[in-house]
Amino acid sequence: MAENQTSVGRSFLAGLWDENPVLRLILGMCPTLAVTTSLQAALTMGASVIFVLICSNLVVSAMRNLLKPHLRILMFTLTIAAFVTIADLFLKAYQPEMSAKLGPYIPLIIVNCIIICRAEACASKNGLLVSLADALGMGLGFTGALTVLAVIRELLATGQIVFTFSRSFTLVRLPDVPLFRMAGMAMPVGAFLMLGLMLGLVKLLTTKRT
């Protein structure tokens, strides 16, 4: 059905830019600030959020006819908690250093405003396919925003982008000048400042001039 197609496509694209959760809707800032010290952490968080978003959106969409109004939020939260537990255990098993570095921010995906918001606004009112597209779009948009912020912060703080699995892989190495050795960027100061400037830039790009 053509109408279903555009709805699915539109849900997917909306999350990427128009309704990008971090940059436009200004939701889910706690993980954005916390994990963008390195690109690897940001991508791990992004992947976890995509996984949890997809699973929770599908489950909520499947049970949308059973939702009672007052218990809705609690039902969403428990579903999300179950999937976050799965993601956390997976990370603890296969990526222990990354799991230790991200610490409590993986379980904090449970209370990430983005996931609850999408469950409430989209999954509880739409079919499985639209919910899936929406989850993918939002998750990718979130990961994209995190990636940009992480790249900027890591390059400015350490001058290189390093991935650590069993060994370290240095993807990018920039020259050793003070510009690329700003320790403040790796600290909370840098997080707030960079995110603020990024949001300001997005607002500048998206405000139509009257």
């Binding site: 809707l25 007052h70 939020i73 405003c113």
Partner: protein
Amino acid sequence: MMIGATGMQTIIFSALLMIVLGLLFSVMLLAASIKLKVETDPKVEQIHAVLPNVDCGACGFAGCASYAKAVAQDPSLIGRCSPGGAATAAKIAAVLNLQISEGGAPKRPIIHCRACQQDKTYYGEYRGIIGCTSANAQPIVQACAFGCLGFGGCVRRCRFNALHIIDGLAVVDYDKCTGCGACVAGCPRGLIEMVPFTQEPMMVVACSSKENGRMTRAMCSVGCIGCGLCAKQTDVFTVKGNLARVDYARYQPSEAAETARQKCPTKAIVFRGKGAPADEKVSKTAAGAPAAS
């Protein structure tokens, strides 16, 4: 992955724990929802139902319930919900419009001035802060102390892009207006009035000048001179203090009202609303001449 004895134990205990906790809280919450019930305003409930219910706090209020209560009392707060966006703002406006005025007619803003730049007389050039409040503080910017200044004080308040300054006059785009009333406070001269639109378009006396006819004519070519020709046609119009006004409690489109409108020597009576014809042009009288002392 073999589930050993301890694995099975974990599964059973987890299930037991969830059942116990679930039952405990269900019972307590059910009892509480009955015993601790509080009455709420149905309008507020309706607004709450259209909000995204994320309780993110972006609106500046303590969650969706708080915002619903606040916006029900102060409709100019529509548009603060950033996760909900424009769709939610439109839905809130729809809910409120049904209850905002008597008789179910939605309220819309009417600007009691129709003078464009070429209609007005200016004493000098204004070079101050571009804003209606600042310009209003100057004693003589334009000759008429009652008319629209055209610096956009109302435009800035509108969250729906429904107000524009065209030719030095504030104009409402009735296709976009939701009737929230935020613009009223933006006019330091009090030109904007919220009126129930029982039909569309509505007839409006687009002038607020309380000066006598001679002064008004010198200051503006489209101002109401208080001649009373309209009031003689039909009692829908009343003249008080050199200014005619439409009595919206009695207003009905009728031949008499239309005749009155056409008889107006300065064409100060116009239509406002969706489908309104364009204002008639009036040639400027004594262009640029200062008012007689």
